[in-house]
Amino acid sequence: MKNRVLTTAIVVAVLAGAAACSSTTSGSTGASAPDPSALKNAKGVTQITIWHGLGAANGVAFGKLIDEFNAANKGKIHVRATYQGAYPDLLAKYTAGLRSNSTPTVLLAGDIATGFMTDVKKSIPAQDMAKANPGDLKLSELSPAGRNYYTVDGRLQAVPMNMSTPVLWVNWDLLKKAGISEDTDLSTLDSVVAAAKAVAEKTGQKGFTMPDDDWYVEQLTSTAGQDFCTPDNGRKGTAATGITINSGAAKSAITKVADLYRTGVAVDGAPDGSASISAFQAGKVGLLLQSSGLLGALKTGTPFSYQALPFPISGPRSRSGGIIGGSALWLSSTAKQAQQVAGWKLETFLASPAAQEEFSHATGYVPINTETDSSATQQAYLKANPNLRTFARQVKNTPTVSATAGCVTGAMTAIRTSNINQLQAAFSGSKSVGAALDQAAADAKSAIKTYQEQVGQ
């Protein structure tokens, strides 16, 4: 797995420079977003493609939506959807495609691709398409958290398709054995740390786990009310130059979690999170930090009472909260104009309240269209599935500030890889937490510098 990530990182790095160079010669993008007449004037069926990285049940649900769109647009538009690997592989493939002009009309790219996708300038910003096509998607209907994440330099770049949110999964059977009742407040990091220690002490099981994944470090930083990258998470005109996890409230929050591992209260969750999921489902750990996307897997084979609670925060509520995960739809600026309008129609359909409701029920992702909430079937569904209501409420209640928007830089994949290594060293005790975080910050700084040299920033 590590090899694959490394391969992908190398390929993306090699291609990033070339992609950026070619983008500067092809002129600015988004200046000429086509209007509906481009599709109207097209003859025959307009063929478009969409690449995605949705696996397993999520991929099946996505395929169903594409079939529905094709059926509704028969004779006018036909979409071919293809799975192109998990998000990092998908990005490597897209980057290779840029060189040979074989990219898809629409790319469903993972959240952290935002910086890279903006930098290569091969997509028409969603804001421009919405302006040129007023009869289609209304951007004001999109979730503020989603818009906050995919807005770079003041413009919405892509249309969010699916949002996940980090939550605290609780095994109530185990917590009750440790004397923690269901009305105990677990909304702060300190209360979660105390509960984890109590579980480990009184039940003999482990108290806490999470995947050894940088996404959770980013969440611990944003829920401490701190920007992950400096300055301003790279979102206010100046590109990010470094990360902040080795200082302030973020360092304190990460240290508290690392101490749980170093004292044996927590169990290692593995970089892909599989060990954390297995341990939680086996009833061997009380508290788990994981994506809301885990709901589908927990529905089968979890023989105890479990619940999703909002991600614990350690900073002031007015400027702390989780960062969304998931992916967004990027519309190609090199496709033909008829294809671009057809692609926008597809994005409008995928982001519609009905499609979002269907996709949310099948996958556990939070709908990105706020109008979804006004549907009676959605309200009934949320009533019957309180965990989904928790996810939706958390996304809705997250303050729209730079900390919760998350960092935007094209070097994010490289930063995550080096952070995981340091994180594991800190958790295992082979390095002090301070030294590991300092090293992570130094590595991130050089990763960003290398990336910026490659794309000529």
Partner: protein, 305 residues
């Protein structure tokens, strides 16, 4: 000393040689047999331990594939047989068009293996039998290709294959790998061990180069040829990044790319991922189990020369 107790008896010349081993055996210090026994047991335990290290992940994969999520962690190393299920395989098959991808993978393996065997045998033959200036340098160049990491040539390959219109085809998946340095090296070493007189005799009897290669040299080196076939087939079956990069639709997708789809979600179901992994590993395990006789023979052949 024990050997002092044994009285030498006069023996006819020649018989001495035969009896000496028995004498040596008897003269071994007391306890030597026991030490040998303990040594065997220790060796056996070490091998057992090493085998367990190798076998355990495979065992965990199989058991997890047939049981619900978390079952392995819940019930320890031996899961509850009542929980055995095929649901994970069903979920994997629903998410990925397994059968079609299996067929594509078999096609890729066949083309790539045959290609590597043909080019490897022809190159090795040319490097060993006919005498020509620069063949050592040519062999050196082949060896140099072994030191080039595959990742560094992915992009030039992508552009080349794309430019000749083979993107998104099975031929596009295999074409950069129709010749590989390792099978050439393996076969060149095998051919070099064949007495040159055999080749000369074949040539004298009127066999051309191709006939000499296919009817005389290759049959002589069957174990190493099998070894090369296995290596090529495993490499072709396990390819991931290149098939992903060069194919755009599911029709030309190999099973490795398809199976990765099971893990591509933020929090996938580990048991379903294991089910996919088991399905992918079965053909390679069968190949190695059935061919291991040749594999071991091929690897050890020539070590004493």
């Amino acid at each position: 000393m024990i050997s002092m107790d044994i009285k030498p008896t006069p023996t006819p010349a020649g018989a001495d040689k035969q009896r000496r081993p028995r004498h040596d055996l008897r003269s071994r210090p007391r306890g030597a047999l026991r030490i040998t026994g303990i040594g065997t047991i220790v060796r056996f335990l070490v091998v057992l331990f090493l085998a367990a290290i190798v076998f355990l992940p495979v065992y965990v994969s199989y058991v997890s594939a047939f049981t619900p999520n978390g079952e392995m962690a819940r019930s320890g190393i031996v899961p509850n047989p009542a929980h055995v299920t095929l649901a994970n395989f069903r979920a994997a098959a629903t998410a990925v068009p397994l059968l079609r991808e299996y067929v594509v993978s078999i096609g890729v393996v066949t083309l790539q293996t045959v290609g590597q065997l043909l080019t490897g045998a022809l190159a090795a033959y040319a490097l060993v039998f006919p005498r020509w200036r620069g063949r050592r340098i040519a062999f050196g160049l082949v060896l140099v290709t072994l030191a080039i990491p595959g990742e560094t040539i992915v992009i030039p390959n992508y552009e080349l294959v794309g430019s000749i219109g083979l993107r998104n085809t099975i031929l596009g998946v295999v074409i950069p790998y129709l010749a590989a340095g390792y099978p050439i090296f393996l076969l060149r070493q095998a051919f070099a061990a064949v007495p040159v007189e055999i080749w000369e005799a074949a040539r004298l009897d009127g066999a051309g180069d191709i006939r000499a290669l296919f009817t005389i040299i290759i049959p002589t080196c069957r174990p190493q040829v099998t070894n090369a076939v296995i290596w090529s087939a495993l490499a072709a079956w396990n390819g991931f990044f290149w098939p992903l990069l060069i194919t755009d639709t599911a029709a030309a997708r190999t099973i490795q790319v398809g199976i990765s789809q099971l893990a591509a979600s933020e929090a996938g179901s580990p048991s379903v991922i294991f089910a996919g992994a088991v399905l992918v590993v079965v053909p390679t395990m069968l190949l190695v189990i059935f061919a291991q006789r040749f594999l071991i023979n091929g690897l050890t052949r020539g070590v004493l020369r």
